[in-house]
């Protein structure tokens, strides 16, 4: 009892001091509560109150973290979380994703028409958002597990949100069970790690020393089990099986969000986690049986291959985009693999563009689904005539996803390749070369299926004249994003100077 007394005052001061850097999250929490209250009592008379509140909250949080952009790296709450420039960048990306998400929800018919209303969705989103920002910052196994669970459970709820749809509930169940298994494995891995090192704090020197003290099959097993959890969130091959089904089943806005937000946070988490293992990668133990480079490389290459090749056969656009996002994840892993500062910069830039691309893509897909009732590629026949502007936007987005000029997707891809090249120059590891070549080939492959959409939209004529409802604001949002893609190609500095 008594031996705890001295610690108390110190840690309380620490907590108080930390609160200053934790404001954005606090705002989110407040917003979370407000939304719940609003949903319970005020939502009757004005429908969009929750939406406005959430938007406001996210904006405030975003602005706050933007203002604190250049803070030196600092660890908060007794090493529970760690805040630095990179983390803030990730948080900003997540913020962008969430904002786009709620805008998406706002103009998505199916979600707006659910009799249960969208209030819960907004509160869940805020909670997930909180979880994501914790994920980004967490420097402690407990925080990692907590935030991952938070995000996962929130995601299950989002996927199954409007429960009138059988596909959604199926997707939700698959997602939930799959995720639960993965997180259980992660938990077990964490317990082993804790057992071997005696600390939950990744940055604690005793952590790494403990790891180094034991045979590498032991910590290898523990670590792989933890990585399973993270890889599940990133939907890397072979932990990707859920994503096509879930992406197809979930409401389109949710799919869009799942393909962006959690991925971003997942990468941040991966970086934080692997940071602790740096000595094994380039330090003394790099020659240990457990070879990070080959593992990461293999996973990245597999993801690129499975993702892109799997997409070739898809007929459902959302499913195709799911596969392609698997491929993209593998590609991003290439930037992370380098584990250099420039690599992270390239990664963040790529993600920023990726958020824009994916959101735009899903918005357009959803728009078309709502207006013409098709979410299959065959259904796109002849849409080029009837919804020309929208389809042109779609084409630009797809070009950007492929990574061709004149779109920001090219710049992003280019930066990632540069980072990989640089890493190759440093390490000269054949794995990297293999990854680079796979990346190049997968670009060609990706064109193969991306082109199917313009192929149907422009090159083919619909047998029956497509009946199109009038455009919704989604169109204009997505076109704005498309425009952004081109502008960022010509003036990438606007974005890069933040990095």
């Amino acid at each position: 009892m008594n031996d705890f007394i001295p610690g108390i005052s110190f840690s309380i001061d620490n907590t108080i001091g930390s609160l200053g850097f934790f404001l954005p999250e606090i705002v989110i929490v407040i917003g979370f509560l407000l939304v719940i209250i609003a949903d319970l009592f005020l939502a009757r008379n004005n429908k969009q109150l929750c939406f406005m509140l959430t938007l406001l909250t996210l904006l405030i949080a975003g602005v706050m973290s933007f203002n604190s952009l250049n803070t030196a790296s600092i660890s908060l709450f007794g090493g529970m979380i760690r805040l630095d420039h990179q983390a803030i960048l990730f948080k900003l990306l997540i913020c962008a994703a969430s904002i786009l998400f709620i805008l998406f929800v706002r103009f998505n018919k199916t979600l707006q028409l659910t009799s249960k209303g969208t209030g819960d969705l907004h509160s869940i989103l805020l909670a997930v958002h909180l979880g994501l920002s914790l994920m980004v910052m967490s420097a402690n196994l407990l925080m990692i597990y907590l935030s991952v669970e938070m995000v996962s459970v929130g995601s299950y709820l989002m996927v199954g949100y409007s429960s009138r749809n059988a596909k959604q509930s199926e997707a939700a169940m698959k997602y939930a069970l799959f995720g639960a298994v993965c997180s259980a494995m992660m938990l077990y891995g964490m317990s082993l790690l804790y057992g071997f090192t005696g600390t939950l704090d990744l940055n604690d020197p005793s952590f790494i020393s403990g790891i180094l003290a034991i045979p590498d099959i032991s910590w290898g097993l523990a670590m792989v089990m933890v990585l399973v959890g993270i890889a599940f969130k990133l939907s890397l091959v072979p932990f990707h099986f859920w994503s096509p089904d879930v992406y197809e089943g979930a409401p389109t806005p949710v799919t869009a969000f799942l393909s962006t937000g959690p991925k971003i946070a997942g990468f941040a988490l991966l970086i934080n986690f692997l940071q602790a293992f740096q000595p094994m990668r380039f330090g003394g133990l790099s020659n240990s049986l457990f070879n990070f480079n080959s593992v990461l490389g293999a996973v990245a290459i597999l993801s690129m291959i499975i993702g892109n090749f799997g997409a070739i056969w898809q007929n459902n656009v959302k499913r195709m985009l799911a596969y392609s996002s698997i491929g993209h994840t593998g590609f991003m892993l290439m930037a992370l693999f380098a584990f250099t500062e420039s690599g992270f910069k390239a990664l963040i830039f790529y993600m920023a563009i990726y958020v824009i691309m994916n959101m735009a893509a899903f918005m357009i897909v959803d728009e078309i689904e709502e207006r013409s009732g098709h979410d299959n590629i065959d259904g796109y026949n002849g849409l080029g005539k009837h919804a020309g502007l929208l389809m042109i936007g779609m084409v630009i987005v797809l070009i950007s996803l492929t990574g061709l000029p004149p779109t920001a997707g090219f710049t992003a891809k280019f930066l990632v390749f540069s980072a990989a090249w640089e890493a190759f120059k440093l390490s000269g590891s054949p794995v990297l070369m293999a990854m680079i070549i796979t990346g190049a080939i997968s670009t060609v492959i990706s064109l193969f299926y991306y082109l199917k959409i313009p192929l149907n939209a422009f090159l083919r004529n619909s047998g029956s004249p497509a009946v199109l409802l009038r455009a919704t604001p989604k169109t204009y949002i997505s076109l704005l994003l498309v425009f952004l893609l081109i502008v960022l190609m010509i003036f990438p500095s606007a974005l890069v100077q933040l990095l």
Binding site: L177, F178, P238, D245, N291, F309, W313
Partner: protein, 673 residues
Amino acid sequence: METLNFSDSTLCIMSILMIVMPLLSFSAVLIRRTSGGNFAVFNISISFIISILIFLTVWNKNIVHEQLTWFSVGERQFTAGILLNNLSVLMMVLVSGISTLVHIYSLSYMKGDANINKYWAYLGLFCFSMLGLVISDSLLLIYLFWELVGFSSYLLIGFWFTKPAASQAAKKAFIMNRIGDIGFLCGIMIIYSQFQTLDIVKLFGEGGLVSSARIDDGLWISTTSQMPAIWLSIAGLALFTGAIAKSAQFPLHTWLPDAMEGPTSVSSLIHAATMVAAGVFLLGRVYPILDHFTLNVITAIGIITAFMAATIALTQNDIKRILAYSTISQLGFMIAAMGIGAYGESMFHLATHAFFKCLLFLAAGAVIHQLHHFKEQHQLDFDHQDIRRMGGLRKQMPVAFITMCIAAVSLAGLPFSSGYLSKDALLITSFEWAEGFHGVKKAVPYVLVLSSWMTVFYISRLIFKVFLGKSRFEGIHDPPSPMNRTLMVLAFCSIFILFSFNPFSYENSWLVQGFQDAGVLRLDPLHIVVPLAVNLVSVAIIYCAYIIYVRKDAKVFSDESFFYRFSNRAWYLNEAYTFLFTRPAESVSHFSYQFDKRVVDGIINFLGSVIRILSSISDWVDRRIVDGAINSVAELAKSIGNLSRKFQTGHLQHYLITMLTVVIAFFILNYFL
């Protein structure tokens, strides 16, 4: 002859003018649809006059050579210019003169043809390119005009393009010429890479680069660069290939008989007098680069062509084809002469041949023309070019008969004709040349003599069959006056007077003197023996031809009682001659004709079909293999995608199983293997 004096620059301007005039009649078509023949005739005659003036100025005087930079590649300057020396001015006069005559002739011969103005245009184009070929001073220019000549001949052969045979023949002519052109091009490449210039004067002039280049230990060394000696011979042969194709030498001669599908006037101008001579002219231009080996090859080809063409001509029945083969064989004479180094004699024969062969064609053309009209008047249907259907025309067409006889005499090389001079010149020189050698080369002059005898036979056969014997056509008369006049002019040109005032000695012909002697030592006895021998035999041959082709049917009318013995003897004679001469001759002729059709032309066609087969093979390869590979790559990609789909069963536990299996497999591989 009196001498005119023009400054070099004036001469160049004149010669340019001379080239351009015919081009005008070509371009006239582009400007206004109908350009009358008179315009063309006017142009060509202008350039003829100019060429005469130039000739008189330049002949046997110093060479005129003016040039200016055409373009430059890197530092290399490529010049274009005009080279006037004996060779070029002679050809110039020949070409423009004969073209003028043919133009005039065509006025009436081609009258009423639908595309007459096109005809004039093409003719103009031909004259332009032929004259350009003659006077240009760099191999590049020569090659340029060389192909243009081929092109215009393509146009003219295919003039009646609606006749499949015509367009076929045109294509054949162009492509076989292309083969030669490629040889020419290769020659140019070799020369250029050896000497870095294509200027003829720099290359072949006195003390030119070619003569200064030397050969030691297997290397052909010029001032600038060197290559293996073999390339010297290759260069010569390559250039000669060009000559072979253009001058229809064995084995690339088969296009010429087919080319007779064109209008007769065209055949006379292009395929008898001028264009086909271009090969000989080319050899004359590049003579210094031809080494011994090449010269031997040239001689061999020459005599082979001369002999086999002559044998073929023996039994042809199409009048134009007979003349075509005779042209081939005469060209063989010239080429062979070039080969044995009888440079001047060859040119001499070229000149004389140009006139009398042109005349032969035009006269034949007159006959055909008239028969054609006759046919159309009487709605008859027969091949109006087949000599077996003709006969007895000497009454109806005296002019044609006389002139053609003169030409025939000249071709046969009987005294007082121009042919006599040139052909004897050839034969004598060949004998003189053969003196220097032993073995197979000794045979050369004898082969030449033999072929010239055959020439005598087939030409007399032609004359007899066409003009003598019983007349079959009533109401046929001489062609309209323009044609007649041309025939007469040409007839005048085919007698000795134009070339030498001494009808028996070619050596004091101004033309031969105009070219430096090939340097074989002179053997006086030959100058007596050869002409005598050759001509006596020739006369005998004519006589027996007469007996074979004329007296046979004359005999039918002979009075039984009175002329019995004569006829009887004649009959014996007949038999004897038939046995001794005709049979073998005919069999040889048939054989060589079949050889020509089946083997030589066969090989050409075979090559053609081989190319076709190759092309279809490569097409198959392209579709199936090359493209197939690409498509199969795409298929592979798809199948990989399909494989990855197999795991996406939509079955949760399968997913988990696969995933965990991978994890375990990873550990097993990593730690326990």
